[in-house]
Amino acid sequence: MIDMDVVALSRLQFALTAMYHFLFVPLTLGLSLIMAIMESVYVMTGRDIWRRMTLFWGTLFGINFAMGVATGIVMEFQFGMNWSYYSHYVGDIFGAPLAIEGLMAFFLEATFIGLFFFGWDRLSKLGHLTVTWLVALGANFSALWILIANGWMQYPVGATFNPDTMRMEIEDFIAVIFNPVAQAKFVHTVSAGYVTGAIFVMSVSAYFLLRGRHQAMARRSMAVASSFGLAAALSVVVLGDESGYVTTEHQKMKIAAMEGMWHTEDAPAPFTVFALPDQDSQSNRYEVQVPFALGLIATRSFSRELPGIIDLVDRAEDQVRSGLVGYQALLDLRADSENDAARELLAEHWADLGYALLLKRYREDILEASDEEIAQAALDTVPHIAPIFWSFRLMVALGFYFIAFFALAFWLSSRGAFERNRWFLHVALWSLPLPWLAVELGWFVAEYGRQPWIIEGVLPTFYAVSDLSVWDLVLTIAGFVTFYTLLAIVDVWLLLRYVRKGPSEPEPQQGSAATGNGPQGPGLRHATAAYKE
């Protein structure tokens, strides 16, 4: 039997390390593009201020990027370390996008990031601009392949179960790449990264304007960020809707959980704005609903029904029983690999095999499972509703806030009216944490909402863990938490230090900012000279 404490701790560790890594990724995605845009303006206009802006945002980018790289290595190794049965069971499909991510994206990004910092004096203007764009391109390609891998966990297309190797194997690689879930998630996620980058630039620039420092650069930075951010914020919500639509198609339980929809509603279903979902009584209290809205958003039709949680549990119970037939066939096949009848039976039922594996939580010999255990396994397919229901609503609310924020910013920017509206600068400054809150909520809705599955309908999360002890996990979680907390403190402290220091200004105006106890220490002896050119 699998130790459920090890499962809980493994999940905790993955959530901690993934959500921590995801603090740095969105800013890398967004800021790399914003820098590329700024440097493009520099190359096109030849105005030095745009180069200094690129350098300044580049310094902050570099500090953030180092943390992303440091925490990203952990992600790739962790599948094997903590989820070894997962790695065996789906490595044939899941490993490929990760490896291609390395080949196509991360190599590009990581090789050129060095030149971004070290190539200013060694490359032509156009050469350096190309390098910057390649870094941004690499970061975005990287997100593409990671989300293809993740999309397959949500909607495992193009693969089939092979009883001889006891694992899922690829049948159609093209289907894995063009997985509709992956594509919708990709654009939704990178757009969220762009919003994060744009808010970051808005917020830091607002800080300068409020202090009356570096106004020229801050205004220009805000102009770039507000238009870029508006496009991104619109894209996040539109593609979030697309993401919801494909979720309706392929992860019915997740959408029902996000909506707290216990019963199948007559089409088109209402949208629940507010409710307190109660898992035990399988109902909501204090519901406030908008008629028809959910049905229209989720199915884009007036007539298609959305199945409720209770109906989905009934379906799951049938699938557990079907999966057990497949499991029996699998055992017969293992005893005699020439047993063609068993092979055929398994081919019919393998798609439900994962549902039968849900019973492994209750007994090793799942063929002996009682009706109560089967009913319980079916009930296990329901995730915890309330956290998903509320995380989703908060994320959506933030999405709409970003649209309003950037629409206003765009309008103010086009009128050159930032400094006359100091209240807006305060709003921009204090909006800084919001995109991070939104992306973490998004991660939570997507991954927690997939439970109890690690691969939707194919492999239960608890069954995917490694053969580790509780102490192994306690040690590593304690290690990661300590290490990551210290790094976070240092990282934020350094970012603040460099924000306060601000961009370099041409001499002599802001010369004092770059001398004295400048953070570069001895390195800055001639640094100001390098800025002048």
């Binding site: 580049g58 310094t59 500090i63 180092a66 943390m67 790289v69 440091a70 290595i73 952990v74 790739e76 190794f77 599948f79 094997g80 370390m81 070894s84 790695s87 065996h88 490595g91 044939d92 490993g95 490929a96 990760l98 490896a99 291609i100 991510e101 390395g102 080949l103 991360f106 990581a110 090789t111 050129f112 990031i113 060095g114 030149l115 070290f118 190539g119 092979n162 001889d164 006891m166 694992r167 690829i170 580790l468 192994d472 590593t476 290490f483 790094l487 240092v490 350094l494 230090r497 460099y498 370099s504 106890n517 400048g518 953070p519 570069q520 001895p522 390195g523 640094a527 390098a530 800025y531």
Partner: protein
């Protein structure tokens, strides 16, 4: 299946070679900056000297480290059972490796951002740990692979592991760890003596010469241990090269000196150890006669030889099991499906030349020795 022009055994063999290419790529490319990190506190005395050392790898270490990332990804994609068993089996060792590797990106980036000397000294030692510990651990891991690792599979092919961190720290594995460490110190020393001027280059040259001697002695010692002490593994059932990737369908026996049997059967494999000894010795000599660039290539050749020796000795084993030898992973029963191997081969053949081309271009752009002038002229220097 008919879409794939290569048969399953050929694909498996190609991916065994590619696994070697990636591991050697990691050791050669990331190896010199691991070695540079290890040498940092010793070859540089003043802050400017330390910054010079850090900045020799500053522009390239991120790209180099992708060889490790790609190696991990390729093992996952092409050899899923190997990835599943080794990464979970070596759990705490992997955690130490990760912790050490995390110190590198932040160490490089953060070190020179603050002028305080205690801050800088702290990150210098962080970079030392981030260089020496991964070099040591990867070698210890290879040593344990040669000894066999205590794991087995259930009928569902769920891997179980019956050893802890301390079991990994046995004398033979530590010996292999020292081979790896000294080899990468040599490699880092050749890099430093090429990329810096005196006095750093001179100190690096001295450390490098010692490291070459140490590598030769340790590698020879490991060879003797493998011949007279370590139990090698041999397939005793009929070898099925195109069967499904199910490790439980074979029989395996152990015999002292068994890892040398390949060299009897295929004498050409002796090129592995010959290049290992030859490359390292040549690198040491070239350092002595002050030809650091050639020494760098010779040491890369030595790394190629030493890692090939490990791979060729093990063949066709990837990860033998000391607890249940038939659970051992081999080239013939631990791969992905033919389709995945094929798709990944296409991707590798397409992207690898592009990667090599732009990597070469980057190295050309940053060519030249790193001096204090570079530190002063580039605001982004570490």
């Amino acid at each position: 299946m008919e879409l794939i022009p290569l048969d399953y055994p050929t694909l498996r063999l190609i991916w065994w070679l590619l696994l070697g290419v990636l591991l050697i790529g990691f050791a050669v490319m990331d190896g010199f900056d691991l070695g540079t990190g290890t040498l940092l506190p010793f070859v540089a005395r003043t802050d400017d000297e330390r910054r010079i050392v850090v900045n020799t790898v500053g522009p390239v270490w991120e790209g180099n480290q992708v060889w490790l990332i790609l190696g991990g990804g390729a093992i996952f994609a092409a050899w899923p059972p190997l990835y599943a068993v080794s990464f979970s089996g070596f759990y705490l060792a992997m955690f130490l490796l990760l912790a050490a590797l995390i110190l590198r990106p932040v160490g490089f980036k953060f070190r020179s951002k603050v002028g305080d000397s205690r801050w800088r000294t702290f990150w210098d030692w962080g970079l030392f740990v981030g260089g020496a510990v991964p070099a040591l651990i990867t070698g210890v891991a290879v040593g344990n692979v040669l000894l066999g690792v205590p794991f087995y599979f259930s009928d569902d092919l769920r891997p179980f592991y019956d050893g802890g961190l301390l079991g990994l720290l046995n004398p033979f594995a530590l010996l292999c760890g020292l081979v790896s460490l000294s080899m990468l110190i040599l490699h880092g020393a050749t890099w430093l003596s090429f990329k810096t001027e005196a006095p750093v280059a001179e100190r690096a040259r001295r450390y490098g010469s010692f490291a070459a001697l140490a590598t030769l002695a340790l590698f020879a010692l490991a060879g003797l241990a493998v011949a007279y002490w370590v139990e090698g593994y041999v397939l005793v059932s009929q070898v099925v090269q195109d069967g499904p990737s199910n490790p439980l369908r074979k029989e395996v026996a152990t015999v002292v000196g068994g890892w040398l049997s390949n060299y009897d059967a295929y004498p050409w494999m002796l090129t592995g150890p010959i290049l290992g000894f030859g490359g390292v010795a040549l690198a040491g000599l070239l350092l002595l006669v002050r030809r650091p660039l050639l020494a760098f290539f010779a040491s890369a050749l030595g790394i190629f030889g030493i890692i090939s020796t490990a791979g060729l000795s093990l063949f066709p084993f990837l990860l033998p099991s000391s607890q249940d030898p038939r659970s051992s992973l081999t080239v013939w029963d631990a791969s992905s499906s033919p389709m995945t191997l094929w798709v990944m081969l296409i991707a590798t053949l397409f992207f690898m030349p592009i990667i090599l081309a732009y990597t070469a271009w980057v190295y050309r752009i940053i060519a030249g020795k790193v001096t204090t002038r570079d530190l002063d002229s580039n605001v982004n220097a570490y």
